[in-house]
Symmetry: C2
Subunit: 295 residues, 2 copies
């Protein structure tokens, strides 16, 4: 019987669980809200139980920060996330207790970055941002995720405040006006009293948000020099936002280093239906399975 690889995209608002075949094609998937940890993780276990014994390995792409150091006592934990109930949760421990397969643990955005590389194997370096309830980014240089002792956590760096936004305190519980605090979805609602999807396109809040996201792209460009920066999440799927970000990116970078045509350089994911993390997890699960069987 052919093998199946499991993906858990453990996001801030929902869990997406899926199984794929050896060609990394999605065979089945399910999604449920991210409620309290034990309840949510048990649903994931129950889902994957139905695919035993074909299930060969699972990769989990999780909201962070998480502990990915296999030598650490808290390996497999979600650590200091602002997400209520999810700090200090032993995610991999819970899964391993009921599912006896090799597991890989990384961030949701690293899994997404890896998925985009699966689809375009000529890409040697890329950064994947998600702009949603929170902001996160994962990055690849060659086959390696960027990150010395742990994973990138680029959503919480600081940005130059927009002149028309100086009075907004920011909503990050850790840093107030870090990138996530001023540019993630909840910041839009905090400024306007209206949920992002209901804010009119001529509201100045969009250019303010784009100004911050463009700065993140400048920082990623100057720090990591990637071939491409990919933006996932609903906000960036709107053409008007990507165009605002490209325009402000160009003004902010001001030609300091060469970058490709911005329509190519700053992009939405090539993998449709928000499945970048799922495809990336399949590939990472397969890699974990192959490495496990080498040992």
């Amino acid at each position: 019987m052919s093998q199946l690889f499991g993906s858990i995209e453990a996001g801030g608002t929902k869990f997406v669980c899926a199984v794929g075949n050896e060609e990394l094609i999605i065979i089945d998937s399910t999604a449920f809200p991210t409620s309290k940890p034990e309840e949510t993780l048990q649903k994931a276990v129950d889902y994957f139980k139905t695919f035993e014994p074909s299930l060969a390995a699972i990769s989990v792409g999780s909201i962070g920060p998480i502990d990915i150091d296999e030598a650490s006592e808290t390996y497999g934990y979600v650590t200091s996330t602002p997400k209520p109930y999810w700090a200090d949760v032993d995610m991999i421990g819970f899964l391993k207790a009921q599912l006896d397969v090799p597991m890989y643990f990384t961030t949701d955005v690293n899994a997404s970055a890896y998925g985009e590389k699966v689809l375009d194997s000529s890409l040697n370096s890329l950064v994947y941002y998600t702009i949603g309830t929170g902001i996160g980014a994962g990055a690849l240089q060659g086959e390696d995720f960027i990150g010395g002792v742990s994973h990138a956590e680029m959503g919480h760096t600081f940005v130059k405040r927009h002149p028309d936004d100086l009075d907004f305190a920011g909503v990050c519980p850790f840093h107030r006006d870090c990138l996530e605090g001023v540019a993630a979805g909840p910041s839009l609602e905090a400024r306007t009293g209206v949920r992002g999807e209901n804010i009119p396109l001529d509201s100045p809040v969009w250019d303010i948000q784009a100004y911050y996201i463009a700065q993140a792209a400048v920082a990623a460009t100057l720090t990591l020099r990637p071939e491409k920066i990919i933006f996932g999440g609903g906000v960036m799927a709107q053409d008007h936002m990507m165009n605002r970000v490209r325009k402000q990116f160009s003004e902010l970078l001001n030609g300091y280093v060469p970058v490709p045509d911005l329509a190519d350089y700053l992009q939405t994911p090539k993998i449709a239906n928000n499945a970048s993390a799922t495809v990336g997890n399949f590939a990472l699960a397969k890699r974990a399975y192959l490495r496990h069987n080498q040992d």
Copy 2:
């Protein structure tokens, strides 16, 4: 006869040329001001000519941005640097025309980062910032410099402006109030009319500068997750500055991800006399020589 390895630290204010032995010990060195390109580079050539034929290879650590893509038509060039006269200069071409040895080309800060790793080979990831006339940073993850299509250029990312510094426009010719524009040496003089070394320690400008440098350290921490961040340059050699940066770093990061004790994590170079880049260049020249002879 034993081999010698050459180092050129091509900085914004001076060139430091040196030769080292196979143990990477400095045998001889010289320094001269960075004047116009041809004059300055010819001095470097004349210096290394005196060590032929023992000279086996040279590594150049240069101010940036530079073109390090060997497939590029402008490989070996300093490209868009704000340094007068030095934009679009074919540095490696000039040297190669008169010195027939393998050459390695990287940024001054990458060379410094590599030097610090030579001295502490247990370090698997580090970032090296220099805070001087300009601000630059190089980073290592394993044996690889951080940077997909080219080198890091982290001195020009944007920072949250200090509340008491909002009226200062910044002095970067490309970005005005990027990190370099508000925290490099010339910004101190632009604010106060007094050169940095003559500004009293109780001036508020130091905490403003530290606030920006601390944000750079937060960004490097959250993006690259290094084991250590090293600060070179005269400003950071002063204990009061390093302590100000550590204090503000701690407040800004606010425990979001774990970092080592800050006295270890945020450090000055271990290699004395500003020789980190020289030692790094020796090691990179030796690596270039060995690779050249493998081919």
